[in-house]
Symmetry: C2
Amino acid sequence: MVPHLVTALTGPINELEQRILDGMPAIERWFRLEWMEHTPPFYTAVDVRNAGFKLAPVDANFFPGGWNYLTTEMLPLAVQAAQAAIEKICPEARNLLVIPENRGRNTSYMANVAQLVRIFQMAGLNVRVGSIDPAVKSPKKVDLPDGSTVCLEPVVRTKRRLGLKNFDPCTILLNTDLAAGTPGILEDLHEQYLLPPLHAGWSVRRKSNHLHSYEEVSKRFGKLLGIDPWLIQSIYARAEGVDLARGKGVEGLTAAVDQVLTKVRRKYKEYGINEKPFVIVKSENGASSLPISTIRDVKELEALTKKPRQKAMAGATTDDAGPTDVIVQEGVLTRERVHDGMAEPVVYMMDRYVVGGFYRVHPDRGADESLALPGASFVPLAFSQSGHLPQPGAKPGASAPNRFYMYGVIGRLAMVAASYELEATNPEAEVYE
Amino acid sequence: MVPHLVTALTGPINELEQRILDGMPAIERWFRLEWMEHTPPFYTAVDVRNAGFKLAPVDANFFPGGWNYLTTEMLPLAVQAAQAAIEKICPEARNLLVIPENRGRNTSYMANVAQLVRIFQMAGLNVRVGSIDPAVKSPKKVDLPDGSTVCLEPVVRTKRRLGLKNFDPCTILLNTDLAAGTPGILEDLHEQYLLPPLHAGWSVRRKSNHLHSYEEVSKRFGKLLGIDPWLIQSIYARAEGVDLARGKGVEGLTAAVDQVLTKVRRKYKEYGINEKPFVIVKSENGASSLPISTIRDVKELEALTKKPRQKAMAGATTDDAGPTDVIVQEGVLTRERVHDGMAEPVVYMMDRYVVGGFYRVHPDRGADESLALPGASFVPLAFSQSGHLPQPGAKPGASAPNRFYMYGVIGRLAMVAASYELEATNPEAEVYE
């Protein structure tokens, strides 16, 4: 069904896998109880790295693109999950407005928007796409390679509502991570459901809040399964006011890198892991120009300070970064390869349900480097076929489904952490009416 | 994907199909609002007949077997729907006891039980199978053709709870329609969730209650779509105290048959349908020995009264029927054929979601006869692939998915009627605590 994934599924994660499979009823019940108390983000994509000896999420995206990279088999699952989500939030809903990123006519991204439109239409909503790009002044049809089209229409803002000409949505779905800051046009929309909320945007979010929540979640989950939470989590530290170009905050950063590397070394020793530890240095928010770097030794920091300031990714938009707060996170090796490229699974969730996923594959990167860079390609995982369903009785490690179930568990743990994070950072949390 | 279904999808139901496709967002919203007010049955299978000019449900089963006839692709959808159902009913659930029919080692039926066990295990429950058959005195393994096994264990009843040795379930799922009457061992279980409730059993249910509810539902749905509700519904009448063997109640039955045939003839004339109307005569409950008969003319009733009393189906268990109340229901032709046999789609639902379906095919029956008889075979419909999802823009009639969506709508209408029926007949409805 996804034959090139065979190589991505070898390797010795068997003990952890066995624990997770054995614990399935307890795990599912644990999630059910979590969702009684907490609200999952509307949709989430989680990058998972599988080092063989450990398995951890490395990023949680609250405005996932890439829905077009999931197989068509996952569509009914996504639709069913979308129906459940709508029912919970606003069963009376008729009209949904999708706000995409301002990426103009980028057809790969627009194919993602088209897929989202399809999902919510099939869930029973009238769906239209509203651009908040000031350059979009009249409806623009974007033709996609598969022959379909997406119509981008300029949004119309009234005092209290956002819509399109002749289209008044009750729910607005953001598919833009707002890394450049929250545009005023999205503020003070108290009459409409705005999903995800504005404080989920990357100009507001801080990675440490998520990591802190995930630490809590992984401890509790580790206790449930009787495992060291480190096996499903990354050690991290924080350094404030770092400006590498101007040589500021380097001391704090060095200390943080040293601290994390030391802790990881200790863990590797404890588990007899014969690998070189490394950390990933990245900025606290998604709007910084700090590149995501792999550091294997404190000495490598020096080289980093000498590099000319550069944009990390096409998405980074702040021009002069100035000092930024930095996260130093234990790096998780990836032991998975697809088509000879390094691969990491990305798990897609809608409401509380795993609905699909793909492998992000980069041909030119190492096992200890970020793959989320230009040049990456995407290989769909048919989670929907039987992918996220374990086959009871199958030998651990031997069957693809078992491992995918595990990825779905880790993805959902990050989603539980995300719900804690959004609750803790909700600016309206203490406003009672 | 299901190539032999091509022939089942020709024919001129295009206008109704187009209405249903055009109305999709309104239809889905209508269902959402219904489920705010009403609780769907836990699981439901609905037999649908497609006459080309009309499309109607002919039976709604609250204890569906046949889960093994659905494709493996539907499994994730069923699991996701089961998760949603469990979450709603009892998120704390750990243990689920499935009570199957007393069919001994019938492997076809037991394969259905095995599939149900699989679905609920994957949804995160500890699932075991408890037999209420007094002949089952110790655990019995039943080997299935696919190499798996089901273990049937004798139930253990305490004063207030039902379980197995060392297994105390919080929820009990019935997969037996209780046509022979409600066994005492299932009564007074006030501490556990018993699903579906006992009054959904065939010894208690009356078909007229369902038909009455469906009439109401189809009127409201017809208004929503601006269509004659007759296009999605069967005309029916009721005759009381019929005992054909003893010649009792024949007059009332004749009047009912005449009345329905006359009404149907009028409708056929109105729509210019050049077919011979017919009715289906069946008993009010599922426990009667009255055979399901097709009557094309009042005169045929005579022949029926002369037939020796016989059991309709293997499932009928009442030995001396005595007078029974009878339903005379407009027959709906089936215009669908699979493998040269007459076929009717059966839509499977879990909670409020369509999760799959199959064609029931009978090689020896006519377009105006019941197919639910020994000799029927089952051809899976891959609803789950993209089957119950309409492809917007596809020419009506030309694409399989469009018709399957329509079947899912009709199936869900019958499910809404079922929820009305179960509410109206709930013996505990007026007990407030």
